[in-house]
Symmetry: C2
Subunit: 339 residues, 2 copies
């Protein structure tokens, strides 16, 4: 049980789901305070049966909080989270800013819970496109080490926040009505299009989103030199990221064995019957906390290769669910420590 928990970015796309999950999963917190930027401060949000007033995020707002779950842009996380730590809170951060810091734990509870329990200060939740992939990789990696990963993503507009989806809906309506629409968050029209850039360009022609998949996966799995190649693409899907993943493992893993390993791994559901048109679809996986895997087959181009298709709700397991699961892990550990 936590006496006092703060949720930062409570009005954002992920923040809203965090609140829903804290309610649904009956998270053990006596009081929950909600914070957002000055723009949203003063408005109210229904939570656990009462209207909670959103407080303004300031450097002094963290006094008395034991746990903070933050879903904010990178620059906000960079500026404010050290103040939360200084005030004595454990912080679970959804942003990209702290993930790769040496002192920050980067945690997927099914994979490296011990990193969260040993952390002091900030615990980071991985990028949405990383989380679902790393869960799939871990299921294989425990059986035979993953040596190389090649992934191409099919990412949803909700990954760009509330306005990302507004762009998809309004842009699509305008396109179908033969009208112009000025996109707010996407550099190119996303309606009926595919954009092979997510984030800004970084080293060697890769984008920030692609390098997150490389560096975060290595850190979570604890394999600093794992060979990973990512291509991240935005497509006109509102919610759920899909990924076409090909891996090479030290020893070959048959599709049958992989199906077994995935099925037994916590948080993964296998849907795999191509002959009958059964495989994960973004339209069917939205709203679920699971990572879904299908199209599991031998990589025809490598004796130790395996290919599969992986879909997950990027706002849930890719963000809110993973953060709340980390919080639950900390809460359970407190109870155990007490007894």
């Amino acid at each position: 049980m936590f006496e006092s928990v703060g949720v930062l970015g409570a009005t954002g796309a992920v923040g809203r789901i965090i609140l829903k999950l804290l309610e649904e999963r009956e998270f053990p917190a006596k009081s929950v305070r909600l914070f957002a930027s000055a723009r949203s401060a003063g408005t109210t949000v229904p939570f656990r049966g009462v209207d909670v007033t959103i407080e303004e995020l300031t450097h002094d707002c963290f006094e008395g909080l034991e746990l903070v779950i933050a879903s904010t842009p990178d620059d906000t996380a960079a500026e404010y989270l050290p103040s939360a730590v200084k005030a004595g809170a454990i912080v679970i951060d959804e942003s990209g800013y702290w993930r790769m810091h040496e002192d920050v734990a980067l945690v997927v509870p099914e994979i490296n819970p011990e990193a969260a329990l040993n952390a002091c200060g900030i615990i980071a939740s991985p990028n949405c496109s990383t989380t679902q992939m790393v869960l799939a990789l871990k299921a294989l990696h425990d059986h035979s080490p993953v040596k190389r990963v090649i992934v191409s993503t099919y990412q949803a507009t909700s990954g760009a926040g509330v306005q990302g989806n507004a762009d998809l809906w309004d842009g699509s309506k305008a396109y179908l009505a033969n009208e112009n629409y000025e996109y707010k968050v996407f550099a190119h029209p996303i309606a009926f299009n595919a954009i092979p850039q997510i984030g800004s360009e970084k080293e060697e022609g890769y984008t920030s989103e692609e390098l997150k998949m490389v560096y975060e996966t290595r850190k979570i799995l604890g394999v600093p030199d794992m060979a990973i190649n990512a291509t991240c693409v935005r497509i006109p899907v509102a919610n759920c990221h899909s990924e076409s993943i090909t891996v090479e493992t030290e020893e070959p893993i048959s599709p049958e064995k992989a199906r077994e390993l995935f099925s037994q791994f916590p948080g993964i559901t296998v849907i795999d019957d191509t002959a009958h048109g059964q495989y994960p679809l973004p339209s069917q996986c939205s709203g679920s906390d699971e990572v879904f895997i299908g199209r599991i087959r031998k990589d025809l181009s490598h004796p130790n290769g395996l290919s599969f298709w992986c879909v997950s709700d990027n706002l849930r397991k890719g963000a809110a669910t993973n953060a709340v699961q980390i919080a639950e892990l900390l809460a359970a550990h407190r109870e155990t420590a007490k007894t």
Copy 2:
């Protein structure tokens, strides 16, 4: 100059573009006769300034034709094209039926024109997803042999014919209006979704579309054991297929060198400036006969690896343009042979 040319499937999505290209490119044919199924026979189509009546496709309709360009379903091609060959015509076939037959040439004019010139009987044009990829591969392969290919596709609904696009538009409108829509050609809703199956399931969990990319590429490049792994996915884009391609070559090819090789190869246009948001987009490549390549970068997971993004109009270079280019090749060869 051909005395008499027949176009089969003249009212289909690809057939219409074949007629447009024959007009635009002033294809040297004295007379052009148009054929379709009984359903369309009797209707007229404007071509080179006159209304041409569509004739019914029968086994006896090919008499006197020197060249036939056919864009029909596989079963139609299987049944009728031998009759065209028997009647003495050279046949250029867009369907999938004859491509892998030992006696049939599978031709991309920029790659293996000699195969078309040596052919008697049927010359096949490759599957749309193959054509754009194999052109890119050939540009690299001539410099250093391609040893392995891993490709994930982002394919447009026009690949499923006129009704494929009707499903996309009507399905999207219905979705946005919160109404139901019964899809005619797709097994799952394609509006705001991604479907990781194109064609039927074949060997080892691969789909027919994926195996076409494997077998056709090997045949066109003349490398029967090239290691190729494909994942084919339909996305809600109306026209132009996109492909995320990773290759391993015998010797490493730097991104700079690859850019040069692609730029110099006939039929390829490079658009590659990620820092300024410049890369091929389906929305911008539609209506062009070129294959567009961008996001050219070193594969971070392999010393001899290279990754890039490849977009092309699947109805044009992926189908109609390639067929008409083969026809032009034959016409030019006739002129040369005469002199």
